[in-house]
Symmetry: D2
């Protein structure tokens, strides 16, 4: 699956003498969650310093400019932002730093607020001005509201106004606060470094990256404070009153195979989904091959369950960047081929089961099938480790429009099979997929397949509404 | 004079098919008013596009990145920002673009608001958040206030809240509005391009640059609207109720010699000030030399009045950039020498009158005198075309602190003469200087010499208060 | 295996209307052969144009600078250069363009000349001057020698002076010549585009990238000319007089799995090597996991032969760049972990067979084993798909020094096993490995294992001898 | 005069603990001699390190990249290169570093060799290869020739092969050698730093910049060695056998006013030329104005001699860069106006004498006259401080082609006057100009006016012959 835009990743750490360097490494390990921009904010106890930039972590914080050295402070939060095609905007890079009546505040956000536009309209009506097209900015406006700042727990109070998916880390001059929405849609977990300092992050792979130990997830509806007293927890909703709606697409595609999210390992869930797929949609074939890397785990599961040998029919290039020239159409087709190369000797004359984690638009999938056929595949049996995607996600997954989704374009499986030009096609069933994860089936959000949204959606924020308007591109600054 | 920080320059144009390119050229011609950052915002009638960057105009909009092409729209405003030593901050670059209840708004500002901190505290107390350390941002917050947006003339209403010096251009999606403070502290004028489109700018040199004709100044307290109906004027104060307080330092130093400001040519005023200086402080000398380029006009005037021959004893380098390495003290002294080189054969064995426009800290002046002596000058008679600067400016001139001003460090002219190591020293008198300009003497602000501030100063905005906090440096964006 | 430096990749194409764009895509697909620098030279029939730069292909030729557009000509050659740690030098980037008595010549080289220093000393004694530390430069000096240029076949004559490994493409104003050393040490093959134009490249994956068809290998000792007459072949040695010495390490590590080199598919050879390894060194274990990606094919082979299930115990990050900061030692260890993350649930409590393609220094291997143990692996059985590397390569593989090779540091397999802290260790035998490839065993060079060099080595060129001296770093040029 | 391309500037220093920083400052002060590229080579006694880049000195060696720190060694040479329009080529940046049989050698060159093409052809026939289109490269080939390296004085021997203008500094691992052609066409002088170390440079302004004292000129035909023994001198021609041919255009335009070249101050010569011009071509006028800055000194002289008041009718912008966009013709005309702005109040209604140092193409001069007329000048009397330029320079001044020179396009002074649209026109006479300098008239080259070339020109090197061919643009290197 390559059509999906990706999410964001966040990290926060308090008190470690190498907090900023660890944030840097943690962001590296979260890079799969977003490559558009990266940023780190840190506090020396009194002032917050912040640096954000476009591109991947090692570009933004490239050596020789002394950025990490300048940021070097004992409290830090970091963010990597998802990739968009075309328009990207430096003003939307996070952490978002601003100043309000209580001082400075920096925030990093993973998720999507469904009432951001409503709130924004409301606050604009109150006379507020907005600098970004980010739904994150509204959170700070809520924090700044005079009737909110005087509450006993201003942050808890504010979070009750937000609707949608959010895993958040806030950096104040003297502390960090981390919070997760009541449905626990996006993952967020708590860890401890070897020298005993606490950190919070989207996925456990960031803990692995800095030799930190996974402690537990931040609970849905929980706020965790990291300060000089250690960690403290409180809930801004009554715990247990809301059934979680974890995004199972995190298991299917987003999260790194090595991570533990929603209580279990991602690779395990994917292996089971491959096995389940083999049970639901067996195939008479010679080999099972994945679309690497997102389909690899499921392909191993399918191979194990079916007994058909696993092989690598596609080789993925590690060096294909995202900034191609805009060549002629022929040239563009060539560009697609650079990412995945077929190993002819593996597929020639074979009946092949191809496993992908999901199909969104279907266009690149069609291209991959075509290259298998061109390399001499005798039969191609497509198996997909998640059900047909038919509905938009309002909680942070940037699927294309309803009309662009393949499962909406074509009427029924047979039409899709014909479009993809495969000999057979099987999607895992929704029940089947939910059965591969350990929590009860109703603890996961499955709206993109079922259309059943757990959080009612009234007026959706169009996160690109303002983005198109602002081409405010800041130049590189000589430090 | 090289110790003074410089100001800002602004430009706006409506309806010209080459509006953005003309803005680009106009900003070039205003570059002497600020080299720290530059920016252009343009509107296609519905959306505002904005690009800002650090550095000079031709760096920010350097060819090959397609920026001007992307901005190409019929309405545009532009800004060049003054230079600070050390801290400079991309988030403070202008135009400042944001969105409020009435849509998008971009603003470019020359001047300084003395009640910005007061207003900011007030608006933070109302729950507003601030992204920059600019006093300009508060203006947009005032524009956005619900009780303001419903006024018959919201802009006029808002301007009445501002105290201090401001020449402003606003870009809305469909129009431009230009305004000048009631005291007319900073210059602002109206012009017309060859093909009949209106523009507004800080100095007439920007009109010359684009072959536009000077029409008239924007009056103190006036708002001029540029839109599809042409231009319209209104006043937000009762015209004639306030005696102007034009910054005469614009004539002394800031403005380009070719510009017409406050109704007359800058070079003419400077020539007259040189003549006046010769009358007040004659000298028995062989040659008159300027500290180029700001002292050149006055030196010509002095030479004419005195009959002493004019010569060029200093050569100014056109290539000395501002980003020197930080070498040892010896090396720093060398760095100063690169900017101005003495022509030994001019000064050797001569009795010399040296004309500078002003003396601020006096350290570089002292260095220049030293190099004249080293080159063999027999006598050095320093003549200064403005009175001793003793008081800070709250209206946009970034003088150093009270303690750093030479005229405060030394008790009396004799002490200064001794410090500078000159044979005689003469400052023009305040009356003498004011007599060189055409308007009545009380139409100019002379607070930096007299300490008499026309606008009472209660709580001064420290424009660097937040700047130190935010190192939010945006990376270059690949377009 | 991550300790090895990598090689170079070359490409040439004649007459295609999209020659330069295809070269660009081909270089992308060869990126695994070198990431230090990239370059393209093209000819319009009269003049050669050349652009080289440091870094990966998509950085050097990044959009918006119009480089490919300027190079757009019907004949082109391209080069990607191997990565070195630390010193890298823009003057050494290829193609190497210069002018001699017969006009302009550009050359791109994959391999290593063992008599380059000898020749260089000789030519310096003749009065020649050298601009680079590249062994490639000497080739052009030989081409320029007056007694050579008058030969009936100057290129063939010159190639007879070279000793070592070389696959070469030359661009003259009017033609391309491609040549391969008599031992065929590095791969080089001939292809044809869909519209009938010829191209030459290191690996067939570059042909796949541009939809070209593989025709045949350029033979050892052969020169192929691409010009307006199509292609012509000649031999600069008597064909068949020399037994080839193909670098089998190309199969083991360098080449892309999808490529056909030395007559067969790389993935196939690796699968067979995994099977052979299972026969030679069986293990009593629960799972087989590769060190991705270079060990994946062999691991699949091992799993098939042994019947032990294949799984992915390591996840490889696609985003880890090579320009890390230089942090403390602890931080460096963290950096290693970012590249490969262990999937704890796969390895915990398991007896694991780990397959790597080779072991060079052994330090990173040791780190990987350690992280498996830390994640709870019960037993770790290391299996290596090539024999112990004990001897330097003089033909283009940048192994570390003799002393740094693990197989020389430790006395015997048991000592290595102990060092790596694995429960058992097995290397494939040299005979076993050679049996996995289709050509007779004596058609491959195995000097790095056996120490038997097919080309006698007298005075070895130290390719870094001059590199240290020249820090000639060219600035970015504004186009 | 703005049509002329500029020359190069060179600097060398031996033994100073701050040699590299002083070279950096010296290059700054020589920046007026060339802005296309800059470079510094330094030696630690054994190895030469070199860094060159495109653009001005403070861009190439901008802070934060540690370049000067890496180059920090006690021997250094530096170079700034003249600006060309359009094609510019990083490979041509100097110092030119290479390696030959006697080790490393770096060279920096000001001037032009008229037999470079002949020598190049000859050496290519010997089998040499060339990397640049620089005439400087051939010098190193001559140095490397086996029959030359064994001479008692190889450098002296080699210099006897060169024809044309050259001031040269060579850096060897252990010493510096500086040489000047037998005609002394370009300036070169010797200085001593405050702490007693020797340096060599193009103009004395570079000595002023580092507080060094001018000792004497390097004589025509002299070689000066700077090494651990101090300085030593030798001559490679019999001193006194050749009458010098100093380029008087250095006095007219190139050199900085403060410099002493050919034994006298540049400003003095220009003042005298203005006086002479007033004698030869008096005018009945109200004011004398220069075209700044190159016409300023002569205008002061004219004003003094004529008694007509001096004034500044043009203001020069210090910020107009050279990389303008390529706008429409209208826009280009605007671009010209940005460089010089007319002070209307100075010229309106006046009869004006305009002084320029020289006229080359005449197009920009025509534009300047036009803007004076537009600003209301009543009469314009053009006076030019050098005779009509009619012949190309083969010794380093990049005049346009014969056909483009205004004095060749128009038949006679009256035709030129008409073209420029001035009321009267007067060029200084050749005799008059030569009389303003102190040496005998035949000690100066005046070929550009007289066509009498002191060095016979057989086959002229076309310094752009190869430059067009090589677009070898190196990317910025991350240090």
């Amino acid at each position: 699956m390559t059509d999906k835009k990706e999410e964001c990743g966040i990290f926060a750490i308090y008190g470690d003498p190498e907090s900023v360097q660890k944030t840097y490494f943690a962001l590296h390990s979260l890079q799969h969650r977003g490559q558009e921009s990266a940023g780190i904010a840190s506090s020396d106890g009194e002032l917050i310093h912040c640096f954000t930039g476009m591109g991947q972590v090692n570009r933004v914080f490239r050596a020789g400019r002394g950025i990490l050295e300048r940021l070097d402070n004992p409290m830090a939060i970091g963010h990597v932002r998802y990739s968009t095609t075309g328009s990207s905007n430096p003003t939307n890079a996070q952490p978002f730093l601003s100043e309000y009546s209580r001082g400075q505040i920096a925030v990093a956000h993973n998720g999507n607020l469904i009432n951001a536009t409503l709130l924004r309209d409301e606050y604009e009506a109150y006379g507020h001005i907005f600098k970004t097209s980010n739904d994150t900015e509204i959170i700070v406006h809520l924090m700044a509201k005079p009737s909110h700042v005087v509450k006993p727990d201003p942050l808890g109070h504010v979070l009750n106004h937000l609707q949608g998916a959010y895993s958040l880390v806030f950096l104040f001059a003297d502390r960090i606060e981390a919070a997760r929405d009541p449905y626990g849609i996006r993952p967020l977990c708590l860890g401890k470094t070897e020298n005993g300092h606490y950190c919070v992050t989207s996925e456990t792979c960031a803990l692995d990256a800095i030799n930190a130990t996974y402690i537990r997830d931040v609970e849905p509806g929980e706020i965790v404070t990291l300060d000089k007293h250690g960690i403290r927890s409180r809930f801004f909703i009554e715990p247990g009153t809301i059934i979680p709606a974890h995004c199972i697409f995190e298991h299917v595609y987003f999260a790194k195979q090595s991570s533990i999210i929603f209580g279990e390992n991602v690779h395990d869930v994917r292996i089971r989904s491959g096995r389940q797929l083999a049970k639901e949609h067996p195939a008479d074939a010679d080999i099972v091959i994945p679309v690497p890397d997102s389909g690899t785990s499921a392909a191993i599961g399918y191979a194990r369950e079916s007994g058909i040998p696993f092989d690598m029919g596609f080789v993925r290039s590690h060096y294909v960047g995202r900034t191609f020239l805009s060549p002629s159409q022929d040239m563009r087709d060539l560009a697609v081929k650079l990412k995945l190369t077929v190993v002819r000797s593996v597929v020639e004359g074979k009946r092949i089961v191809v496993i992908d984690d999901s199909i969104v638009r279907g266009t690149t999938t069609k291209g991959k099938i075509k290259s298998l056929r061109k390399a001499g595949a005798k039969e191609v049996h497509m198996r997909v480790a998640c059900p047909p995607i038919k509905h938009p996600c309002f909680y942070g997954v940037d699927f294309p429009t309803h009309e662009e989704l393949l499962a909406n374009q074509k009427k029924g499986i047979e039409a899709i099979r014909e479009f993809l030009n495969v000999d057979s096609l099987g999607y895992i069933s929704l029940e089947g997929l939910l059965g591969c994860a350990s929590l009860p089936a109703d603890h996961y959000c499955n709206a993109c397949w079922s259309g059943q949204y757990r959080i009612p959606v009234s007026k959706i924020v169009n996160k690109f509404s303002m983005e198109r308007h602002q081409m405010q591109l800041f130049d590189e600054h000589e430090m």
